[in-house]
Protein backbone atom coordinates (compact mmCIF):
# COMPACT_ATOMS: atom_id res chain seq x y z
CA UNK A 1 0.00 0.00 0.00
CA UNK A 2 1.38 3.41 -0.92
CA UNK A 3 2.48 5.66 1.91
CA UNK A 4 -0.01 8.50 2.25
CA UNK A 5 2.49 10.84 3.86
CA UNK A 6 4.85 10.39 0.91
CA UNK A 7 2.03 10.82 -1.53
CA UNK A 8 0.95 14.02 0.17
CA UNK A 9 4.40 15.44 -0.51
CA UNK A 10 4.10 14.83 -4.22
CA UNK A 11 3.45 17.85 -6.34
CA UNK A 12 -0.15 18.78 -7.04
CA UNK A 13 -0.84 18.53 -10.76
CA UNK A 14 -4.53 19.41 -10.80
CA UNK A 15 -5.42 22.44 -8.71
CA UNK A 16 -8.47 23.68 -6.91
CA UNK A 17 -10.33 26.49 -8.63
CA UNK A 18 -11.68 24.20 -11.30
CA UNK A 19 -15.40 24.43 -11.83
CA UNK A 20 -16.59 20.84 -11.63
CA UNK A 21 -19.72 20.34 -9.51
CA UNK A 22 -19.22 20.07 -5.77
CA UNK A 23 -18.45 16.42 -5.10
CA UNK A 24 -17.78 15.50 -8.71
CA UNK A 25 -15.97 12.19 -9.09
CA UNK A 26 -13.94 13.18 -12.14
CA UNK A 27 -11.37 15.33 -10.31
CA UNK A 28 -10.89 12.52 -7.79
CA UNK A 29 -9.99 10.24 -10.68
CA UNK A 30 -7.74 12.83 -12.34
CA UNK A 31 -5.93 13.57 -9.07
CA UNK A 32 -5.04 9.97 -8.43
CA UNK A 33 -4.10 9.10 -11.98
CA UNK A 34 -1.69 12.07 -12.00
CA UNK A 35 -0.32 11.21 -8.55
CA UNK A 36 0.97 7.99 -10.08
CA UNK A 37 3.39 10.03 -12.20
CA UNK A 38 6.90 10.50 -10.88
CA UNK A 39 7.77 14.05 -9.93
CA UNK A 40 10.36 14.34 -12.69
CA UNK A 41 7.89 13.25 -15.34
CA UNK A 42 5.88 15.77 -17.32
CA UNK A 43 2.48 14.93 -18.65
CA UNK A 44 0.89 15.97 -21.92
CA UNK A 45 -2.83 15.58 -21.45
CA UNK A 46 -5.41 15.45 -24.19
CA UNK A 47 -8.96 15.99 -23.02
CA UNK A 48 -12.17 15.20 -24.86
CA UNK A 49 -14.97 17.76 -24.69
CA UNK A 50 -17.03 17.11 -21.60
CA UNK A 51 -17.55 18.19 -18.01
CA UNK A 52 -13.91 17.74 -17.07
CA UNK A 53 -12.75 19.72 -20.06
CA UNK A 54 -15.11 22.70 -19.84
CA UNK A 55 -14.70 22.97 -16.08
CA UNK A 56 -10.95 22.60 -15.80
CA UNK A 57 -9.84 25.13 -18.36
CA UNK A 58 -11.98 28.24 -18.77
CA UNK A 59 -10.04 31.07 -20.29
CA UNK A 60 -7.92 32.54 -18.78
CA UNK A 61 -7.72 29.87 -16.08
CA UNK A 62 -6.43 26.33 -16.12
CA UNK A 63 -6.42 23.82 -13.29
CA UNK A 64 -3.75 21.79 -15.07
CA UNK A 65 -0.13 22.11 -14.04
CA UNK A 66 0.97 19.90 -16.91
CA UNK A 67 0.55 20.63 -20.57
CA UNK A 68 -3.03 20.11 -21.60
CA UNK A 69 -4.94 20.30 -24.84
CA UNK A 70 -8.55 20.12 -25.83
CA UNK A 71 -9.55 20.14 -29.48
CA UNK A 72 -12.95 18.44 -29.81
CA UNK A 73 -15.31 15.81 -28.45
CA UNK A 74 -14.51 12.75 -30.53
CA UNK A 75 -10.76 12.89 -30.88
CA UNK A 76 -8.89 13.02 -27.58
CA UNK A 77 -7.04 9.85 -28.55
CA UNK A 78 -6.14 11.11 -32.04
CA UNK A 79 -5.01 14.49 -30.70
CA UNK A 80 -2.91 12.83 -28.03
CA UNK A 81 -1.46 10.42 -30.56
CA UNK A 82 -0.29 13.35 -32.66
CA UNK A 83 1.46 14.93 -29.68
CA UNK A 84 3.09 11.62 -28.87
CA UNK A 85 4.23 11.19 -32.47
CA UNK A 86 5.68 14.70 -32.47
CA UNK A 87 7.57 13.92 -29.28
CA UNK A 88 9.09 10.79 -30.81
CA UNK A 89 10.20 12.60 -33.96
CA UNK A 90 11.46 15.69 -32.14
CA UNK A 91 13.32 13.60 -29.60
CA UNK A 92 14.97 11.67 -32.43
CA UNK A 93 16.00 14.95 -34.04
CA UNK A 94 17.28 16.34 -30.75
CA UNK A 95 14.64 19.08 -30.66
CA UNK A 96 13.16 18.10 -27.27
CA UNK A 97 14.28 16.21 -24.25
CA UNK A 98 12.89 15.29 -20.87
CA UNK A 99 10.52 12.61 -19.67
CA UNK A 100 7.00 12.90 -20.96
CA UNK A 101 3.93 10.77 -20.38
CA UNK A 102 0.97 11.06 -22.73
CA UNK A 103 -2.48 10.79 -21.22
CA UNK A 104 -5.96 11.24 -22.62
CA UNK A 105 -9.08 11.81 -20.53
CA UNK A 106 -12.57 11.38 -21.87
CA UNK A 107 -16.00 10.81 -20.41
CA UNK A 108 -18.15 7.92 -21.55
CA UNK A 109 -19.69 10.05 -24.29
CA UNK A 110 -16.29 10.97 -25.69
CA UNK A 111 -15.00 7.44 -25.29
CA UNK A 112 -17.73 4.81 -25.69
CA UNK A 113 -19.62 6.72 -28.34
CA UNK A 114 -18.39 9.61 -30.45
CA UNK A 115 -14.71 9.00 -29.71
CA UNK A 116 -14.66 5.22 -30.09
CA UNK A 117 -13.17 5.22 -33.58
CA UNK A 118 -10.38 7.59 -32.72
CA UNK A 119 -9.66 5.65 -29.52
CA UNK A 120 -9.58 2.36 -31.39
CA UNK A 121 -7.30 3.83 -34.06
CA UNK A 122 -4.83 5.32 -31.61
CA UNK A 123 -4.66 2.16 -29.54
CA UNK A 124 -4.26 -0.07 -32.60
CA UNK A 125 -1.41 2.14 -33.84
CA UNK A 126 0.35 1.52 -30.58
CA UNK A 127 1.06 5.03 -29.36
CA UNK A 128 2.75 5.15 -25.99
CA UNK A 129 -0.16 6.72 -24.16
CA UNK A 130 -2.70 6.02 -21.44
CA UNK A 131 -6.34 6.67 -22.24
CA UNK A 132 -8.54 7.09 -19.16
CA UNK A 133 -12.29 7.01 -19.50
CA UNK A 134 -14.13 8.50 -16.55
CA UNK A 135 -17.40 6.71 -17.03
CA UNK A 136 -20.31 8.36 -15.28
CA UNK A 137 -22.83 6.67 -17.50
CA UNK A 138 -24.35 9.52 -19.49
CA UNK A 139 -23.59 12.75 -21.35
CA UNK A 140 -23.58 14.78 -18.17
CA UNK A 141 -22.03 17.90 -19.74
CA UNK A 142 -25.02 18.51 -21.99
CA UNK A 143 -27.57 17.61 -19.36
CA UNK A 144 -27.72 13.86 -18.69
CA UNK A 145 -28.43 12.27 -22.07
CA UNK A 146 -28.09 8.52 -22.42
CA UNK A 147 -24.85 7.07 -23.75
CA UNK A 148 -23.96 3.51 -24.65
CA UNK A 149 -22.46 3.35 -21.14
CA UNK A 150 -25.77 4.22 -19.49
CA UNK A 151 -27.04 1.24 -17.47
CA UNK A 152 -30.31 -0.40 -18.45
CA UNK A 153 -33.31 1.22 -16.86
CA UNK A 154 -31.66 4.57 -16.18
CA UNK A 155 -33.89 7.60 -16.53
CA UNK A 156 -31.96 10.14 -18.60
CA UNK A 157 -33.15 13.11 -20.61
CA UNK A 158 -32.99 11.09 -23.84
CA UNK A 159 -34.08 7.80 -22.32
CA UNK A 160 -36.73 9.19 -20.03
CA UNK A 161 -38.89 6.91 -17.96
CA UNK A 162 -42.50 7.22 -19.08
CA UNK A 163 -45.66 5.22 -19.27
CA UNK A 164 -44.56 3.35 -22.37
CA UNK A 165 -40.86 3.07 -21.71
CA UNK A 166 -39.08 2.41 -18.42
CA UNK A 167 -35.90 4.44 -19.04
CA UNK A 168 -32.97 3.10 -21.06
CA UNK A 169 -33.93 -0.11 -22.81
CA UNK A 170 -30.49 -1.50 -23.57
CA UNK A 171 -27.72 -2.95 -21.46
CA UNK A 172 -24.55 -0.93 -21.33
CA UNK A 173 -21.81 -1.53 -23.85
CA UNK A 174 -18.80 -3.33 -22.39
CA UNK A 175 -16.08 -0.99 -23.55
CA UNK A 176 -13.40 -2.51 -21.35
CA UNK A 177 -13.85 -5.80 -23.18
CA UNK A 178 -13.71 -4.00 -26.53
CA UNK A 179 -10.38 -2.56 -25.49
CA UNK A 180 -9.20 -5.97 -24.32
CA UNK A 181 -9.96 -7.19 -27.85
CA UNK A 182 -7.39 -4.67 -29.09
CA UNK A 183 -4.77 -6.86 -27.39
CA UNK A 184 -3.20 -3.93 -25.61
CA UNK A 185 -0.39 -4.44 -23.14
CA UNK A 186 -2.60 -3.10 -20.38
CA UNK A 187 -6.35 -2.67 -19.90
CA UNK A 188 -7.98 -2.09 -16.52
CA UNK A 189 -11.30 -1.30 -14.94
CA UNK A 190 -11.28 0.68 -11.72
CA UNK A 191 -13.06 3.06 -9.33
CA UNK A 192 -11.89 6.22 -7.54
CA UNK A 193 -9.79 5.89 -4.40
CA UNK A 194 -12.24 4.76 -1.70
CA UNK A 195 -10.91 4.82 1.87
CA UNK A 196 -11.65 1.82 4.04
CA UNK A 197 -11.90 -0.71 1.25
CA UNK A 198 -9.49 -3.55 0.43
CA UNK A 199 -9.18 -1.98 -3.00
CA UNK A 200 -8.65 1.57 -1.76
CA UNK A 201 -5.64 2.24 -3.99
CA UNK A 202 -6.81 0.19 -6.95
CA UNK A 203 -6.90 3.28 -9.18
CA UNK A 204 -3.48 4.55 -8.12
CA UNK A 205 -1.85 1.14 -8.46
CA UNK A 206 -3.32 0.61 -11.89
CA UNK A 207 -2.26 4.05 -13.09
CA UNK A 208 1.25 3.38 -11.84
CA UNK A 209 1.31 0.05 -13.63
CA UNK A 210 0.02 1.71 -16.80
CA UNK A 211 2.69 4.41 -16.68
CA UNK A 212 5.34 1.73 -16.25
CA UNK A 213 4.07 -0.09 -19.33
CA UNK A 214 5.32 0.99 -22.73
CA UNK A 215 2.68 1.19 -25.44
CA UNK A 216 -1.05 1.85 -25.56
CA UNK A 217 -2.97 1.52 -22.28
CA UNK A 218 -6.62 1.91 -21.44
CA UNK A 219 -8.35 2.40 -18.10
CA UNK A 220 -12.09 2.55 -17.58
CA UNK A 221 -13.01 4.19 -14.29
CA UNK A 222 -16.55 4.27 -12.94
CA UNK A 223 -16.99 7.81 -11.72
CA UNK A 224 -19.86 9.14 -9.61
CA UNK A 225 -22.00 12.00 -10.85
CA UNK A 226 -24.39 12.96 -8.04
CA UNK A 227 -26.36 15.20 -10.37
CA UNK A 228 -26.89 12.63 -13.10
CA UNK A 229 -27.34 9.73 -10.76
CA UNK A 230 -29.54 11.72 -8.40
CA UNK A 231 -27.81 10.51 -5.30
CA UNK A 232 -26.52 12.06 -2.09
CA UNK A 233 -23.19 13.73 -2.88
CA UNK A 234 -21.57 13.12 0.48
CA UNK A 235 -22.27 9.37 0.28
CA UNK A 236 -21.34 8.90 -3.36
CA UNK A 237 -18.31 6.78 -2.51
CA UNK A 238 -20.58 4.35 -0.61
CA UNK A 239 -22.41 3.96 -3.90
CA UNK A 240 -19.15 3.17 -5.64
CA UNK A 241 -18.54 0.37 -3.13
CA UNK A 242 -21.96 -1.02 -3.98
CA UNK A 243 -21.09 -0.96 -7.68
CA UNK A 244 -18.13 -3.17 -6.86
CA UNK A 245 -19.91 -5.37 -4.31
CA UNK A 246 -22.87 -6.07 -6.59
CA UNK A 247 -20.40 -6.92 -9.37
CA UNK A 248 -22.02 -4.26 -11.55
CA UNK A 249 -18.51 -2.86 -11.91
CA UNK A 250 -15.87 -5.52 -11.30
CA UNK A 251 -12.33 -4.41 -10.62
CA UNK A 252 -10.04 -6.23 -12.98
CA UNK A 253 -7.08 -5.81 -15.24
CA UNK A 254 -5.84 -7.53 -18.36
CA UNK A 255 -2.11 -7.55 -18.91
CA UNK A 256 -1.03 -8.82 -22.31
CA UNK A 257 -4.24 -10.79 -22.55
CA UNK A 258 -4.10 -12.30 -19.06
CA UNK A 259 -7.11 -11.48 -16.90
CA UNK A 260 -6.84 -10.77 -13.21
CA UNK A 261 -9.80 -9.88 -11.02
CA UNK A 262 -8.49 -7.52 -8.35
CA UNK A 263 -11.37 -7.93 -5.95
CA UNK A 264 -13.93 -10.70 -5.58
CA UNK A 265 -16.64 -9.80 -3.03
CA UNK A 266 -17.10 -12.46 -0.37
CA UNK A 267 -20.80 -12.10 -0.77
CA UNK A 268 -22.17 -10.67 -3.96
CA UNK A 269 -24.86 -8.11 -3.14
CA UNK A 270 -28.12 -7.93 -5.10
CA UNK A 271 -28.17 -5.24 -7.79
CA UNK A 272 -31.08 -3.53 -6.09
CA UNK A 273 -28.68 -2.26 -3.42
CA UNK A 274 -26.80 -0.33 -6.07
CA UNK A 275 -29.90 0.81 -7.94
CA UNK A 276 -31.99 1.90 -4.96
CA UNK A 277 -30.06 4.94 -3.70
CA UNK A 278 -30.05 6.47 -7.18
CA UNK A 279 -32.93 8.63 -8.33
CA UNK A 280 -32.32 7.66 -11.96
CA UNK A 281 -33.54 4.13 -11.17
CA UNK A 282 -36.40 5.10 -8.85
CA UNK A 283 -39.14 4.13 -11.32
CA UNK A 284 -37.74 0.60 -11.55
CA UNK A 285 -39.01 -0.08 -8.07
CA UNK A 286 -42.62 0.24 -9.10
CA UNK A 287 -44.25 -3.19 -9.13
CA UNK A 288 -44.80 -3.16 -12.88
CA UNK A 289 -41.09 -2.77 -13.50
CA UNK A 290 -39.96 -5.64 -11.32
CA UNK A 291 -39.12 -7.70 -14.40
CA UNK A 292 -36.63 -5.07 -15.51
CA UNK A 293 -34.71 -5.30 -12.28
CA UNK A 294 -34.71 -9.04 -12.75
CA UNK A 295 -33.32 -8.64 -16.26
CA UNK A 296 -30.60 -6.32 -14.99
CA UNK A 297 -29.68 -8.79 -12.27
CA UNK A 298 -29.46 -11.62 -14.79
CA UNK A 299 -27.21 -9.62 -17.08
CA UNK A 300 -24.94 -8.50 -14.23
CA UNK A 301 -24.68 -12.14 -13.16
CA UNK A 302 -23.98 -13.32 -16.68
CA UNK A 303 -21.20 -10.79 -17.22
CA UNK A 304 -19.67 -11.53 -13.82
CA UNK A 305 -19.69 -15.27 -14.48
CA UNK A 306 -18.05 -14.68 -17.83
CA UNK A 307 -15.36 -12.58 -16.18
CA UNK A 308 -14.72 -15.26 -13.57
CA UNK A 309 -14.35 -17.73 -16.39
CA UNK A 310 -11.98 -15.48 -18.34
CA UNK A 311 -9.88 -14.95 -15.23
CA UNK A 312 -9.74 -18.67 -14.63
CA UNK A 313 -11.49 -18.33 -11.29
CA UNK A 314 -14.26 -20.64 -12.41
Amino acid sequence: MPNLKELSNKKVRFTGGHRMCAGCGAPMVVNWILKALKDDERAVISNATGCLEVSSCLYPYTAWKDSWIHTAFENAAATGSGAEAAFKAMQRKGLVDGKYKFIAFGGDGGTYDIGLQSLSGAMERGHDMLYVCYDNGAYMNTGIQRSSATPMGADTTTSPAGKAKPGKEQFRKDLTEIMVAHNLPYVAQSVPVIPGTPYMFDLYNKAEKAFNTVGPKFMNVLTPCPRGWRCDTATELELMKLAVDTCFWPLYEVENGVYKINYIPKEKKPITEWLKPQGRFKHLFKPENEHIIQKIQEEVDRRWEKLLYLAGVK
Partner: protein, 100 residues
Amino acid sequence: MNNRKMNITPNTTWRETTPGGVVIDAGNAEDFKTGDWRAMRPVWHEEKCKHCLLCWVVCPDNSILVENGKLTGFDYDHCKGCGVCTKQCKFGALDFVPEE
Protein backbone atom coordinates in the same frame (compact mmCIF):
# COMPACT_ATOMS: atom_id res chain seq x y z
CA MET B 1 -1.31 36.03 -7.62
CA ASN B 2 1.40 38.39 -8.76
CA ASN B 3 3.84 35.89 -10.26
CA ARG B 4 1.65 35.17 -13.24
CA LYS B 5 2.94 35.59 -16.79
CA MET B 6 -0.50 36.44 -18.13
CA ASN B 7 -2.49 39.42 -16.99
CA ILE B 8 -5.87 38.80 -18.54
CA THR B 9 -8.64 40.94 -17.13
CA PRO B 10 -12.22 41.60 -18.23
CA ASN B 11 -10.81 44.64 -20.04
CA THR B 12 -8.06 42.88 -21.95
CA THR B 13 -8.15 43.94 -25.61
CA TRP B 14 -7.65 41.70 -28.62
CA ARG B 15 -4.14 43.02 -29.07
CA GLU B 16 -3.20 41.98 -25.54
CA THR B 17 -4.91 38.62 -25.33
CA THR B 18 -3.12 35.35 -25.95
CA PRO B 19 -3.28 33.75 -29.41
CA GLY B 20 -5.84 30.98 -29.67
CA GLY B 21 -6.69 31.42 -26.01
CA VAL B 22 -3.58 29.59 -24.90
CA VAL B 23 -3.12 29.67 -21.11
CA ILE B 24 0.54 29.97 -20.28
CA ASP B 25 0.21 30.01 -16.48
CA ALA B 26 -0.19 26.36 -15.61
CA GLY B 27 -2.45 25.87 -12.61
CA ASN B 28 -3.64 29.48 -12.42
CA ALA B 29 -7.16 28.23 -11.66
CA GLU B 30 -5.96 28.59 -8.07
CA ASP B 31 -6.60 32.28 -8.58
CA PHE B 32 -10.26 31.51 -9.18
CA LYS B 33 -12.16 31.16 -5.93
CA THR B 34 -14.88 28.58 -5.80
CA GLY B 35 -15.36 28.88 -2.02
CA ASP B 36 -18.51 30.93 -2.43
CA TRP B 37 -20.23 27.91 -3.97
CA ARG B 38 -20.54 26.46 -0.46
CA ALA B 39 -23.86 26.03 1.29
CA MET B 40 -22.36 23.63 3.79
CA ARG B 41 -18.96 23.90 5.41
CA PRO B 42 -16.57 21.25 6.69
CA VAL B 43 -15.18 22.17 10.11
CA TRP B 44 -11.97 20.61 11.38
CA HIS B 45 -11.46 19.76 15.05
CA GLU B 46 -7.71 19.57 15.25
CA GLU B 47 -7.69 17.94 18.67
CA LYS B 48 -9.62 14.88 17.42
CA CYS B 49 -7.65 14.54 14.18
CA LYS B 50 -5.39 11.48 13.79
CA HIS B 51 -3.94 12.78 10.52
CA CYS B 52 -4.96 9.62 8.65
CA LEU B 53 -5.39 11.86 5.58
CA LEU B 54 -8.39 9.90 4.35
CA CYS B 55 -10.29 13.17 3.97
CA TRP B 56 -7.43 14.58 1.89
CA VAL B 57 -7.51 11.45 -0.27
CA VAL B 58 -11.04 12.07 -1.52
CA CYS B 59 -11.25 15.85 -1.81
CA PRO B 60 -12.14 16.69 -5.44
CA ASP B 61 -10.92 20.27 -5.03
CA ASN B 62 -7.52 19.84 -3.41
CA SER B 63 -8.87 21.94 -0.56
CA ILE B 64 -7.56 19.98 2.38
CA LEU B 65 -4.19 21.35 3.32
CA VAL B 66 -1.48 18.89 4.29
CA GLU B 67 2.06 19.68 5.27
CA ASN B 68 4.61 16.98 5.74
CA GLY B 69 1.94 14.34 6.23
CA LYS B 70 -0.11 16.40 8.71
CA LEU B 71 -3.44 18.02 8.07
CA THR B 72 -3.16 21.75 8.67
CA GLY B 73 -6.59 23.02 7.71
CA PHE B 74 -8.98 23.79 4.88
CA ASP B 75 -8.57 25.92 1.82
CA TYR B 76 -11.93 27.64 2.08
CA ASP B 77 -11.11 29.69 -1.03
CA HIS B 78 -11.70 26.58 -3.10
CA CYS B 79 -13.69 24.11 -0.96
CA LYS B 80 -17.15 23.77 -2.50
CA GLY B 81 -18.66 22.08 0.52
CA CYS B 82 -19.46 18.73 -1.10
CA GLY B 83 -19.05 16.93 2.23
CA VAL B 84 -17.37 13.85 0.81
CA CYS B 85 -14.43 14.37 3.18
CA THR B 86 -16.58 14.56 6.27
CA LYS B 87 -18.00 11.09 5.57
CA GLN B 88 -14.51 9.62 5.65
CA CYS B 89 -13.59 10.77 9.16
CA LYS B 90 -13.90 7.98 11.70
CA PHE B 91 -12.68 10.15 14.56
CA GLY B 92 -15.28 12.87 14.63
CA ALA B 93 -12.69 15.44 13.60
CA LEU B 94 -14.80 16.78 10.75
CA ASP B 95 -18.19 18.38 11.14
CA PHE B 96 -20.36 19.45 8.24
CA VAL B 97 -22.36 22.53 9.10
CA PRO B 98 -24.48 25.03 7.20
CA GLU B 99 -22.71 28.21 6.11
CA GLU B 100 -23.83 31.21 8.11
